[in-house]
Symmetry: C2
Subunit: 269 residues, 2 copies
């Protein structure tokens, strides 16, 4: 399966021309099978990343409300070893966080060597929601794209690969998810009338996403726009990208720190 | 399955009289089946813990080298949602950490409301390895048990349950694991001759464990000594204790923040 058409490095993704629903021409059964296989591969690759402990992977997830970020994380991490995998959710910044530059809280959560860290929302909020609502001046926001690029290249130089996913859905799909939150009692607590206000700014959000994706990407730190309405395809695509990224990192088990040939198993006491 | 004989609150566990190998009288097939069922229950309970976001669970793992801490964590977290589950490994303290009291670095990693945090080693190292090697004076160590109890009761008052597991193995079993690290090439990097030195202090370690388990436990924060040589039983026991602990916490989905009856799904736009 080739996801190249959803990969962006330096282009404007023209979101209104991208599918939000895709099955890659595969049956549900086939999608499910491929997804399981990819997850198994990711599991094995993570083990070597962790053992090597020299490089790391940062996965950034951004999306409109109810696009499925939580469920994406649950699925993506299902086969991973929790030791060596961190999920960091960035909420509205606290007073202390606001008293610093916008990358301060993010930097503190950069993955440690050997780890996979998943950002549920990220520094990109500072060029998305902040831009849409005009919470910062235009030139301040404009400079943030460069700050983000400098920051992500700092990580790359230290051995951290960054992959960024935008879960792409249509406004109609979002509405159906909000309705579900009202209709299913156990989902009621997720319902927030504020989300209805936010969706009025849909077009502004899409523009802000396009600019961020256009301006903040490199070969070491590409953006993927994921058709997120078919969850099997979504999981397969994200899993595949993570697998391919880990493969490219060419991790290897570390050389034993000690000369193991000097020890014979039978002589141990 | 009743694990009461492996639970300690205020008693000396007399480690030399406890089994390190147990199958609970069950076949491998049965153990496997029960383990899967328990994991499913833990998964569901974690979801409510996370949704409620008022309480939290701290799982402490301690053991001799090669007892299977890493594999325990991998198995225990297999069905958990990584969002809401953190694993913290405590290694030899850094200079900055040593410049503070022994609970400083631990406190920073206490679980957030809604989360399950697993400590791979913990503050108990400061009354185990430190005691065995005499790296602190006897009266300093003696006061640490009280500090630990005060700290864990601080957590309990904030809604954090603490469960502590000692993975119990025999010295013979440990030796067989070390041999395996020499014999399997992909495990070579785990081999550390220093571990062979450490095992010479086996009896001192067992005494230190007994004192720690005896002095640092309460109903809110019990110790479990897990027969860890049968991994299916180990996983079933730990999973069951975690499940029962989560059940006792009686988490519930939060009351919706908004009056959802004021909204009709069909009216949403």
């Amino acid at each position: 399966m080739d996801f190249a058409k959803y990969r962006f490095v330096g282009q404007n993704p023209s979101l209104d021309q991208l599918q939000t629903l895709d099955d890659g021409g595969m049956s549900e059964k086939k999608l499910r099978k491929e997804r399981e296989e990819v997850w198994e591969e990711v599991k094995d690759l993570q083990e070597v990343l962790y053992a090597e402990s020299k490089q790391s992977l940062l996965i950034v997830l951004q999306a409109m409300d109810a696009a499925g970020k939580d469920s994406t994380i649950e699925k993506l991490t299902r086969n991973m070893n929790a030791q060596g995998c961190n999920v960091v959710s960035f909420k509205s910044p606290s007073k202390i966080e606001l008293a610093h530059d916008f990358l301060w809280r993010v930097h503190q959560n950069a993955p440690r060597s050997g780890d996979i860290t998943i950002f549920n929302r990220s520094h990109y909020e500072d060029v998305l929601i902040v831009k849409v609502h005009g919470w910062a001046e235009t030139d301040i926001i404009d400079r943030r794209y460069d700050h983000i690029n400098a920051f992500e290249s700092l990580l790359a130089d230290r051995g951290t690969r960054v992959v960024k996913f935008m879960l792409n859905i249509s406004p109609e799909y979002q509405l159906s998810r909000f309705k579900r939150r009202l209709e299913l009692q156990e989902k009621n607590w997720k319902f927030n009338p504020g989300d209805l206000e936010e969706r009025k700014h849909w077009d502004d959000y899409m523009q802000a996403f396009e600019t961020a994706i256009h301006r903040c990407a490199s070969e070491d730190s590409p953006w993927y726009v994921v058709p997120a309405e078919n969850r099997l395809f979504r999981d397969l695509m994200i899993g595949s990208v993570v697998r391919d990224t880990l493969k490219h990192m060419r991790c290897d088990y570390p050389t034993p720190e000690y000369d193991t040939s000097a020890y014979k198993a039978d002589d141990l006491v």
